[in-house]
């Protein structure tokens, strides 16, 4: 036997072992690659194969009957290359290349056969003849594509073949399996673009036909939050779903949902204050409420909430965070957005009531107050101490830039108000002192 075919056979053996593990444990929800040295730790001779890492490191005197059995039953090979316990799967890095090659080869050949048989079955009038072999090929294809995706999470063709198979089905349960698989892939590759993309496709596909869609979405939020690293894909992914809800389920009172979500997400945001995506998400929710409230103004609605108060609350909350967490860019950028909207939506809206002039005067006064508060906040943060504490320097930089931002957001008629309040502040000097690198930007903006 040639060296090549020997290694090919070994590869196939490994593939079958992997696929058998899934047959025996279809609930696997987490996986990772394990270095061989860690493997021997997990399957140490002094421990029992299948012990949890904690048990191996801190062996207890008790051994349950079932784990003794598993010692006797487990094949030696499986212990060397695969580790499976508590619905977790570990694959030894030693076999990854071989496993990948055989998974890919098996997948490609299965896909070819499946496509060929599909063409056949389309041609054959009596399709019942073609069905059994089609089903069989299909299950092989799904099995091999899954194995391949555990090794190469962005292998587009493998994800596509599953979409191809699924697009012919109607049962929601098969789609749930896809969510399960993509969650498994995300457990070892949380940034996998294709895994997220596949999830989006699956959710889109079932949204039309699924009665427990809300439940599914709840789980999605949980999953996303579980994946510790907040990724732009996650956030955009959820937003995409919100858009889908609005389009697909118009009976939902979406503003209420959004309000609820805003409230719920606040705690999470407070724990992720350096995460810009978090605050971008809030901005999207806030913008949505703003849009909805302006088009519902003339319509009587079952709910009552004060948009202005909501905005004020958000500004106050942001102020608390800015003061507590010094030098955090994401917080200051969020404030830029909040003030911008405040100025352009709440303070400068034209009113067509009979009290127009009175309203204008009061709005003017409010604007003055608002500016006063904002400049006060910014100034309090901009004292640059003569030490090298980076966070304080950042705080000074961000707050100075914030003042510059306000200057660009204020509409012409109210500009004097701002300049009056800025008298005594050499803004350009302040900016250049806090961030000399950006002097070119500051000079140009302030022209």
């Amino acid at each position: 036997m040639s060296k090549e075919s020997c290694s090919e056979e070994k590869g196939l053996n490994l593939l079958h072992q992997l696929e058998d593990i899934f047959e025996n444990d279809p609930l696997i929800d987490e996986m990772g690659y394990i270095h061989p040295s860690q493997f021997s730790l997990l399957n140490d001779e002094s421990g029992i194969p299948g012990d949890s890492p904690e048990e191996v490191l801190h062996p207890s005197a008790e051994r349950t009957a079932s784990s003794v059995e598993s010692l006797l039953d487990a094949s030696n090979q499986e212990n060397l290359y695969f580790w499976n316990r508590d619905h977790k799967l570990g694959i030894s890095t030693q076999i990854l290349l071989q496993l990948y090659r055989s998974a890919k080869q098996s997948f490609m050949s299965a896909f070819k056969q499946y496509k060929a048989s599909n063409i056949q079955s389309d041609k054959v009038v009596d399709s019942s003849y073609a069905f059994p072999s089609c089903d069989h090929l299909e299950s092989i294809l799904m099995r091999h594509s899954r194995s391949l995706l555990l090794l190469s999470c962005d292998f587009i063709t493998a994800w596509n073949c599953r979409k191809y198979v699924l697009s012919k089905k109607n049962q929601p349960s098969v789609f749930m399996d896809e969510l399960h698989l993509s969650a498994l892939v995300l457990s070892y590759a949380p940034k996998s673009e294709q895994a997220w993309s596949h999830r989006r496709w699956v959710i889109k596909s079932i949204s039309a036909n699924c009665s427990n869609f809300n439940e599914i979405l709840e789980k999605e939020s949980e999953l996303v939050e579980k994946i510790a690293e907040v990724l732009i894909l996650c956030r955009n992914y959820i937003l995409l779903n919100w858009k889908e809800i609005k389009d697909e389920l118009p009976c939902l009172e979406s503003p209420m949902l959004v309000l609820h979500e805003l409230k719920r997400a606040r705690n999470w945001a407070a724990q992720h204050i350096a995460d810009n995506s978090c605050f971008h998400y809030r901005r999207r929710l806030l913008l949505k409420i703003l849009e909805d409230s302006s088009c519902r103004r003339c319509v009587s609605s079952g709910y009552n909430f004060d948009m202005e108060q909501l905005w004020k609350d958000e500004l106050d909350w942001n102020r608390t965070l800015v003061n507590r967490f010094v030098g955090r860019e994401a917080l200051w950028l969020h404030r830029r957005f909040l003030s911008s909207c405040w100025i352009n939506h709440f303070l400068t809206e034209s009113s067509n009531t009979s009290n127009a002039s009175k309203e204008t005067a009061s709005k003017y006064h409010e604007f003055g107050e608002f500016l006063e508060n904002e400049l006060c906040l910014a100034k309090s943060c901009s004292t640059i101490l003569d030490n090298d504490f980076e966070d304080l320097q950042s705080q000074a930089k961000h707050s100075a830039c914030y003042i510059l931002w306000l200057r660009t957001q204020v509409p012409k008629p109210l500009e004097n108000e701002l300049l009056e309040k800025l008298r005594g502040v050499d803004l350009l000097n302040l900016l250049n002192k806090s961030c000399p690198e950006r002097s070119s930007l500051f000079n140009d903006i302030m022209k």
Binding site: L97, Y100, I156, W201, L240
Partner: protein
């Protein structure tokens, strides 16, 4: 660390192209078309495109084309708009655009435009402004931009503009330097840059420069060499590149080069680990970051690197050949 170690990078790229016997390389094979574009463009920017076998690459590229007209990432894989652009770009590098069946490729891309002007990546429908850029860039190179609905395409891109002046992947998506490059590039190619608030966007972009001189992709993130391309090219296209500190950025990129090999596991020969650029100093190198590092240096007019077009991401002489032949 004061200079660009060109020879080492060339050797790194040529070696990486051949490496097929380790997991990390082999697991990228589904996107080889992108990798080939990154590697070859880098070689061209360093004046070393003649070190590769043109015919071998050209015939491999063509064997990745499908009936639909789209190209796949590698032989036997499904087609996607991502690889279609890379394929066309690679052929452009070799001055072999004439072997393309222009109608076929055009038809594929046109079929991916949606009602709202957006583009899907493939038949499965995923929408992203990256695909808008790809469609516009690719068809522009093939002189077939008029075959899509440009007005709607532009309208869709603008609908992805955010209040901070940046662009996201879909309407309402978070501003991200990569998406911004795609949107600005697409608007540049379609002559619609006047619809961008350049001061606002420029401000957002120049705030990507962090203390070390490197650029990040969005607020609060670590700097990464690849943003030297996306942020920089965007700034150049909107004429605000003077708002960042160029010297510091050059220094950052040069610091991301691997000059001395670290002896890793016995899988690697120490020689092949010389050269290449990583995402940030002291990390592992890859072709992706090597390309973006060199492309960034090109935009910064670093000596010994050919100029690159910020919208098409191809050497300027290649773009000139396409449009001014």
């Amino acid at each position: 660390m004061g200079e660009l170690v060109t020879e080492k990078h060339v050797r790194y790229i040529l070696a990486a192209e051949k490496r097929k016997d380790d997991f990390e390389s082999v697991v990228m094979e589904h996107l080889r078309m992108n990798g080939v574009y990154w590697g070859l463009t880098t070689l061209d920017l360093l004046g070393k495109l003649d070190t590769v076998d043109v015919n071998e690459f050209v015939s491999w590229v063509m064997s990745c084309q499908h009936e639909s007209g789209g190209f796949s990432g590698n032989i036997g894989h499904d087609p996607h708009i991502l690889y279609t652009l890379s394929a066309v770009q690679v052929l452009a590098l070799f001055n072999k655009l004439d072997i393309i069946d222009v109608d076929k490729v055009t038809k594929y891309i046109v079929s991916l435009q949606n009602e709202d002007g957006s583009f899907s990546g493939d038949i499965w429908g995923e929408v992203d402004t990256r695909f808008s850029y790809i469609a516009i860039s690719c068809l522009s190179i093939l002189h077939c931009l008029d075959k899509i609905n440009v007005e709607k395409a532009v309208k869709y891109i603008l609908s992805c503009k955010n209040m901070d002046g940046g662009f996201g992947c879909t309407p309402g998506g978070e501003s991200h330097a990569g998406q911004i490059f795609c949107c600005v590039g697409a608007l540049a190619i379609t002559g619609s840059l006047d619809l961008v608030d350049k001061d606002l966007l420029g401000w957002w972009l120049c705030e990507r420069q962090v203390k070390s001189g490197g650029l990040n992709g969005r607020p609060e993130k670590l700097p990464d060499v690849c943003y030297s391309w996306w942020v920089l090219s965007s700034l150049i296209m909107i004429d605000r590149v003077h708002w960042i500190n160029k010297e510091k950025l050059i220094k950052f990129i040069l610091n991301c080069q691997v000059v001395l090999a670290e002896l890793l596991s016995c899988d690697f020969e120490s020689d092949t680990e010389n050269g290449g650029i990583s995402d940030r100093p002291d990390d592992a190198v890859d072709i992706f970051h090597t390309y973006f590092g060199v492309a960034g240096l090109s935009l910064l007019e670093y000596p010994g690197v050919k100029p690159i077009d910020p919208a098409y991401a191809l050497p300027v002489d290649v773009v000139d050949r396409i449009f001014f032949k």
